[in-house]
């Protein structure tokens, strides 16, 4: 297995270079270094000298990909792409265009992201699996049909509706919890209740429907009929027979998400004022902060790759017949 993991890690390198290249191209198609300088300098009285000084200070005074002024390898290394990209592979994210240390910001902001994303993820999976198993138990009954109808309805509603509706009812009208904010010093749970509740409810439709499909596939297998014939209770059949056998597709969708929980959610964090990495990324895009965008995309890619490897490893745990070669 170790050899497999090492091989996968090596595969990650070209993927990361590709992602980095793509981010770089996409960003600089719409923003030139001069645009960035003007945006950061404030649009007023911006002289060419000030633009040049900003570019020099922030390392944007080089050509993008090829430096015709240099010779040999320097023609490629003395470029914005190389100087900005190579440090990423050493996990040196550098500074944002406004001068803040990105590593410090990321390490500070990932905890609020995790504080919301982790309970939403755990409670969400638990609720979705329980609801799906209950519906499977009543398969082909009126309850099952209504449940599918409700799931499709819940899926069709925009997540914005859940967020704004939840804020309007729970926080504004009923005044049960703060409408937004995050404060680790005072009863942090009261700021998390609503976003977690909204996240879980918003995910029930698609999650439970998907799990229902997986469980139904297993529920018609011979081993389930055998278990039932042996007199096993329905709960035992659901949790001890169907659930473990349906784990492979569940793990495919679930484990990959675990590392990316640190990255938080763009909408939830923005609307609930959670100072996490999701809103960090959104702010960076809005303020044309390429340093942050690049770092976050890079970090997201790494976490995604880690998620994929963890998923593969989890298969061996879920099904001992599988071996990673």
């Amino acid at each position: 297995m170790l050899a497999y993991i090492v091989r996968r890690l090596f595969y990650a390198i070209p993927i990361l270079i590709g992602v980095n290249l793509l981010t770089f191209i996409l960003f600089f198609v719409v923003n030139s270094p001069d645009d960035m300088a003007v945006s950061q300098l404030g649009h007023k009285y911006v002289t060419p000298e000030a633009v040049q000084a900003w570019k020099r200070k922030n390392g944007y005074d080089l050509p993008l990909f090829f430096n015709s002024q240099e010779r040999g390898g320097d023609a490629l290394t003395e470029t914005i792409f190389f100087t900005k990209s190579v440090k990423l592979f050493a996990f040196d994210f550098g500074r944002s265009e406004s001068g803040r240390d990105i590593t410090t910001d990321v390490s500070t902001r990932m905890w609020p992201s995790l504080a919301v994303a982790l309970p939403t993820f755990v409670v969400g999976i638990w609720v979705n699996i329980c609801v799906a198993l209950m519906v499977v138990m009543f398969h082909a009954t009126r309850l099952d049909r209504w449940a599918v109808f409700v799931f499709v309805g819940l899926m069709s509603i925009s997540s914005l509706f859940y967020i704004i509706g939840g804020q309007y009812l729970v926080a504004k009208t009923w005044k049960l919890v703060p409408i937004s904010g995050f404060n680790g010093d005072i009863q942090p749970w009261k700021f998390l209740l609503l976003p977690v509740l909204v996240g879980v409810i918003g995910g029930i439709g698609s999650g439970a429907r998907w799990y229902r499909t997986l469980f139904l596939e297993e529920a018609n297998q011979d081993y389930v009929r055998t278990a039932r014939a042996k007199g096993a209770s329905e709960l035992r059949i659901l949790f001890r027979h169907i659930l473990p056998n349906a784990l492979i597709p569940i793990l495919t969708g679930v484990v990959i998400v675990i590392p990316t929980l640190f990255m938080g959610g763009l909408l939830i964090e923005s609307f609930f004022g959670i100072p996490g990495l999701g809103s960090y990324m959104l702010d960076a895009i809005n303020s044309q902060d390429f340093a942050i965008v690049r770092s976050m995309v890079f970090l997201g890619s790494i976490l995604y790759i880690v998620g994929l490897i963890l998923t593969d490893i989890s298969y061996t745990w879920a099904d001992p017949r599988l071996r990673l070669n």
Binding site: Y45, V46, A171, K172, K175, P178, N183, F271
Partner: protein, 733 residues
């Protein structure tokens, strides 16, 4: 089902309901005393706290050399004291000494540096002598802490030495010292240091003697460690003594005194600059850009731009009082109730990051924010909920009136406009027919209706490019644009559409068609896609259709729109300008020839590429004249040229309505200065009582949720048990 089974199910049901009820009760009990929805921590001390917000994004720079945005000035101007300041209440805006003992002493010098009279043609330089107050003292800060040998306590050779300090409050020792004239000189040298990439470097180098040379010299020095800028001189700066600084600028530039009220000229102590250059500090965001150090009424004690910024009263702030004079009407409005009282009134100000409009508005209405906004009123999005528009103006909605909320209207010293590109072959040019074409389009653009429809009436249709409250903007009949308006029944009335059609015909476009070719006249408007809606495009389309003119919009993002302006590749464009200082020069330069991007090959402000020798000559003359009738005359003539040449399609002065909860006092808005937090007064007892009254939790939904959950689960449990206990075949069959 057997009787035994029925009993079992009933027992299980009761247990289940009891468990859920217990859970709900526990949840309620753990919430503590209402209001449960209070996002602010309970008070830990008896400091009077002002609760506010940063919205929608945190400040990017708090270093006075870098900062150039209103949301940044909101903090910087409470912490630093630039030489000049603005009177809080007086209108038109009045410049007053800030850190200075009195107004700067101005001396005119010839090329040899000898004093000459103000109106002497030999004037080559102007010297400003700044005499500081003698009671200015920096806030307590670790940069000033000294050891027993009087050496700086926190100077480290390696990053590891200072690793334990993550934030400024982590430093156990602090010190302070008086502010000196050299600190102001040091700040100006920092503006010139290319390493800081100050946006003022290029602009101020045109004026301050020796700034450009200083910048070039410093750029050549090795920068692997802190560079003490004190070791290098700048010709235009002379520190006479601890409290006196001379700044010499090239030629005459009376507006320079306004710049002295801006954050760029705030004092920076060299030891503070040195402190922040400690190895490893920047990696922990311990920089002057994030932890400002000044002598103003407040000091920063927490800076988490992702969450909140907290200011507290600076214990070293000098004696300062609420103004005893104001503008006409201030006394009646109660704005002088605190006249003569010592300021600041509050001990702490907490600014929480608020990105969502719904959250912000809800918290304000629940009483958890004292005002609806700081640099933005945030009331536009909720205008229909908050206000009722009546013929005689805007009134608050019943809900707001019930909360006894007060309104503070604020006409920004700025202008939003659609401008013509005067180099465009269709709408540009200076011949009579081109003027008539532009005037016809001006008349057709019903700015008043546009403001009512899209801005809820929150704006003033411009008769002039200079906003109200600034010299050059006249009221009444004398102030109207006679090419677009008539003065009828004591108010300006837009000329008729028939007159616009007539002008259009005289311009060679009868009924909107080119008289020579018969082709319909089509105009192109470049807009920023984020800044315009489909409905407003449709509206503009419709108003021009009234005179037979077709419109095509060319939306693009900010960068592309800017590119078009820089290359002159536009016909009509939208733009805006917010004043740096309340002087007509700061608006009239928007049409100054050399400011055209095509002339200066820079990001010039004259995006219309207006070129008038007369205007430029008047501008050059006006720029160096002191306020007075002679200057007013030149301004009036320039305004007349702007009107006659019809340079802008339309313009309006934006207006906002800020809202204040009833426990907040001294809410008069200042359009230019942000150094007004020290005048804010808060009644905390009233706030606490109102918060409690407005935020009683509604608990029935909790019980309803428990019941709903039970009603969903119980049938399932019952059905499950029935199924488990069912026989393979019904015995009765």
């Amino acid at each position: 089902m057997t009787a035994e089974n029925t009993i079992k199910i009933t027992t299980a049901t009761h247990r289940f309901i009891r468990a859920l009820s217990l859970l709900a009760l526990l949840a309620l009990a753990s919430c503590g005393e209402p209001p449960w929805n209070n996002p602010n921590p309970p008070p830990q001390d008896d400091l009077i706290t002002y609760q506010s917000m940063i919205s929608p994004t945190p400040p990017k720079h708090l270093d006075p050399a870098l900062s150039y945005a209103a949301d940044e000035s909101l903090f910087i101007m409470q912490i630093y004291e630039p030489p000049m300041s603005y009177h809080f209440l007086k209108r038109p805006y009045e410049l007053i000494p800030g850190a200075l003992e009195s107004d700067p002493q101005v001396t005119y010098l010839d090329a040899e540096g000898l004093p000459v009279e103000e109106d002497d043609e030999a004037v080559a330089f102007t010297r400003y002598t700044l005499r500081l107050r003698d009671d200015l003292r920096y806030q307590p800060h670790p940069a000033f802490a000294r050891d027993a040998q009087e050496q700086p306590l926190y100077l480290f050779a390696t990053a590891a030495e200072g690793e334990e300090f993550r934030q400024i409050p982590d430093f156990p020792e602090t010190g302070d010292r008086p502010v000196t004239a050299n600190d102001y000189a040091y700040a100006i040298k920092r503006l010139a240091d290319p390493l800081n990439a100050s946006p003022m470097l290029g602009f101020m180098s045109q004026y301050i003697v020796g700034m450009k040379e200083f910048s070039e010299r410093v750029a050549e020095l090795p920068r692997d460690a802190w560079l003490n800028l004190d070791e290098y001189s700048m010709d235009g700066l002379e520190v006479v003594d601890d409290l006196t600084l001379n700044i010499t600028i090239k030629g005459r530039y009376p507006q320079f005194v306004y710049w002295l009220a801006m954050p760029f000229f705030s004092p920076i102590a060299p030891e503070v600059d040195r402190f922040y250059q400690n190895p490893g500090f920047a990696d922990r965001n311990l920089t002057l850009d994030w932890w400002p150090v000044g002598s103003g009424p407040f000091m920063m004690v927490k800076n988490d731009p992702n969450s909140e910024i907290v200011l507290e009263r600076n214990p070293n702030y000098h004696e300062d009082f609420f103004p005893t004079e104001g503008a006409p009407g201030d006394l009646e409005a109660g704005d002088l109730e605190d006249a003569g009282k010592p300021v600041p009134f509050i001990d702490r100000a907490v600014f929480r990051l608020e990105k969502s409009g719904l959250s912000l508005w809800t918290k304000f209405m629940q009483g958890f924010y004292d005002r609806s906004g700081e640099t933005n009123s945030n009331t536009t999005g909720v205008f229909d909920q908050a206000f009722v528009v009546r013929p005689d103006g805007v009134e608050m909605s019943p809900e707001l009136a019930e909360h006894e909320i007060t309104m503070s209207p604020d006409v920004k010293p700025g202008v939003y406009y659609y401008g013509f590109n005067m180099r465009d072959p269709v709408v540009g040019g200076y011949t009579e027919d081109k003027r008539k074409l532009r005037q016809a389009l001006q008349i057709a653009f019903l700015t008043e209706e546009y403001l009512n429809v899209f801005y809820k009436g929150n704006g003033i249709a411009a008769q002039n490019l200079i906003p109200p409250g600034i010299p050059g903007n006249l009221e009444g009949e004398a102030g109207i644009n006679p090419y677009v308006y008539d003065w009828v029944d004591g108010e300006p009335r837009r000329k008729s559409i028939e007159y616009a059609r007539q002008l259009l015909a005289e311009a060679g476009y009868p009924n909107g068609r080119d008289a020579r070719t018969g082709e319909p006249l089509k105009i192109f408007i470049d807009v920023q896609s984020q800044a315009i809606s489909n409905t407003s495009m449709n509206w503009i389309d419709r108003v021009f259709a009234d005179i037979g003119v077709q419109v095509e919009f060319r939306p693009a993002d900010f960068n592309r729109t800017r590119e078009k302006l820089l290359t002159g590749n536009t016909q009509i464009y939208s733009h805006g300008w917010l004043a740096d200082y309340p002087d007509p020069e700061n608006f009239l330069f928007l049409l100054y020839g050399p400011e055209s991007p095509l002339e200066c090959d820079c990001d010039g402000a004259n995006n219309s590429n207006y070129a008038s020798e007369e205007y430029d000559a008047l501008f050059r003359g006006m720029r160096v004249l002191p306020a007075g009738p002679q200057r007013d005359e030149l301004v009036a003539r320039m305004v007349e040229l702007y009107r006659r040449d019809a340079v802008w399609l339309n313009a309006f002065f934006p207006k906002q309505i800020f809202l204040n909860n009833s426990w907040v006092y001294n809410n008069k808005r200042h359009g230019i200065s942000k150094a007004t937090l020290k005048y804010t007064r808060v009644d905390e007892d009233e706030r606490e009582a109102k918060q409690r009254q407005w935020n009683q939790p509604v608990t029935w939904p909790l019980y309803a949720a428990v019941l709903l959950l039970a009603s969903l689960l119980l049938p399932g449990i019952v059905a499950y048990r029935r199924r488990q206990n069912a026989t393979a075949r019904d015995i009765g069959e």
